[in-house]
């Protein structure tokens, strides 16, 4: 914990952004608990991705150019954090915030060579993954909603990735789209629900919106 940061000092930052007045915080503002949970998800997934990328790099070297394609199969894994965050916190923008924080951890702390433009991808992934939940007003968390979440998350970010990586005009365009959307549906959608269910069973999210709602319903 960063205790030294709280000590008295010289300047007061100009904007006390987002600070609530005395008394209970308005329901619109995020509870610090929810914010930290989303950060924690970002950190754990950032760390797991980092470990995955270490393993992945070796494999990609071995596979040569085929690695470029095989990478699409794992894309869904990058979408996982958004639906998990939405399902637990059940607040608007939870998915986007979770993706963005995971991206910040990845590039600013863990040094992903993709750089800050990872944030653009993160916003798109988060928005795509969150849209189905938002449409149900964060009330329905069945397999279908999770599947659509993974599918949209993958589809939305695809067009940005395609621009960034120059896939337009390649012969493989349709194949890439197909692989990524499929991966998003399975790894970024259905797997997210499996994971959330497992987390709920451990009891650690009892004090969050998902616990109050009595689990994944």
């Amino acid at each position: 914990m960063s205790r030294d940061g709280a000590a008295g000092g010289a300047t007061v930052p100009a904007a006390p952004a987002g600070s609530a007045a005395a008394g209970p915080a308005p329901t619109r503002a995020w509870a610090l608990k929810d914010l930290v949970l989303v950060v924690v998800l970002g950190v754990v997934f950032g760390f797991a991705y980092w470990a995955l990328v270490q393993a992945w790099n070796g494999l990609a070297l071995l596979m040569g150019p085929a690695g470029d394609l095989a990478q699409h199969l794992l894309l869904g894994g990058w979408l996982l954090v958004a639906p998990v965050a939405v399902a637990i916190v059940r607040r608007p923008f939870a998915g986007v915030v979770a993706e963005v924080l995971a991206a910040v951890v990845e590039f600013a702390f863990l040094g992903s060579p993709v750089g800050p433009l990872l944030l653009v991808a993160a916003v798109l992934q988060g928005a795509g993954s969150e849209l189905p939940f938002a449409l149900t007003r964060y009330r329905r968390f069945g397999w279908g909603v999770f599947a659509v979440s993974g599918l949209l998350g993958a589809a939305l970010v695809f067009f940005w990735s395609a621009f960034r990586s120059g896939w337009y005009g390649q012969d493989l365009f349709a194949l890439r789209l197909g692989l990524q959307v499929l991966s998003g549906l399975v790894l970024g959608g259905l797997l997210a629900r499996v994971l959330v269910r497992a987390v709920v069973r451990t009891g650690v999210v009892e004090n969050y919106a998902i616990g109050r709602a009595g689990g994944l319903r």
Partner: protein
């Protein structure tokens, strides 16, 4: 896995510059590079960036070389796939594989861009401490205190994560089935179990952290900053040192007729 994922920041000229300024420059150059799609311009920029990063971070050649491995591998993949999968003037053919001139040019352009952004991101990470970054963003980019401290808490957690990982790994190894030579069999299933354990432990820790932060009244009143980091003339020099060569290379490239934009993709 025992190695820390966080790089140690060593003192260097670039490490003394403000993190917000570095981040803004990195973002700007990445955005500009996104729009450049000829092979020569990004390659020249990469050369300049490599020299700049090497000088400004004083990183040993070995560090730079090793850090290059992941994105060089990625760039090579991009190069080959583009060279093989685009229609255009035939350069070479071997069986079903056809290399076109357009594909090769675009492949080189994208590979060079990957290298450029990769080496700049490397320079950023080598010279920027996570805590300094968040402090600077709080101060200069007006990032709210609650977000700042939540991310800082996450950063501390990340620092401890390799240790936590080892601990969980050992705990799992105790119960793992043994191989013939008597050592525990640690397969993918085992690793998934460790990752899940890490997630659950971290979630629980996060809840306690949030309570600790809240009990200290975080976010209720305007905060003061301990050791504020001022923007200095050095930061202005850094901005010029990055933007001037960038503008010069783009202008020269345009004057020579080499510069090309995203239109190349659909050609």
């Amino acid at each position: 896995m025992s190695a820390s994922p966080l790089r140690q920041v060593v003192p260097s000229p670039l490490a003394r510059r403000d993190p917000t300024v570095k981040l803004a420059l990195l973002t700007l150059v990445s955005l500009v590079a996104l729009l450049v799609l000829d092979p020569v311009t990004p390659a020249v920029l990469y050369g300049l960036a490599l020299v700049g990063v090497a000088v400004a971070t004083r990183a040993p050649a070995r560090t730079l070389l090793l850090a290059h491995v992941p994105f060089v591998a990625f760039a090579a993949g991009v190069l080959v796939v583009n060279a093989l999968s685009r229609s255009g003037t035939l350069l070479a053919a071997a069986g079903p594989l056809v290399v076109t001139r357009e594909g090769l040019a675009l492949g080189v352009a994208l590979a060079a861009r990957t290298l450029l952004v990769g080496v700049l991101a490397l320079g950023f990470v080598l010279s920027t401490d996570g805590v300094a970054l968040m402090t600077s963003l709080h101060q200069h980019a007006r990032l709210g205190p609650r977000v700042t401290y939540a991310v800082l808490a996450g950063y501390r957690m990340l620092e401890e994560m390799p240790r936590e990982w080892t601990l969980l790994q050992h705990a799992h190894a105790v119960r793992a089935p043994l191989r013939r030579d008597g050592r525990p069999a640690l397969g993918p299933r085992h690793h998934l179990g460790v990752v899940f354990g890490l997630l659950v432990v971290s979630l629980r820790k996060g809840e306690r952290m949030a309570q600790a932060l809240e009990s200290r009244g975080l976010g209720l009143a305007p905060r003061t900053t301990w050791r504020p980091v001022p923007l200095t003339r050095g930061d202005a020099v850094l901005v010029v040192a990055v933007l001037a060569p960038l503008a010069a290379v783009l202008a020269t490239s345009a004057a020579l007729g080499l510069l090309e934009g995203p239109g190349t993709l659909t050609r």
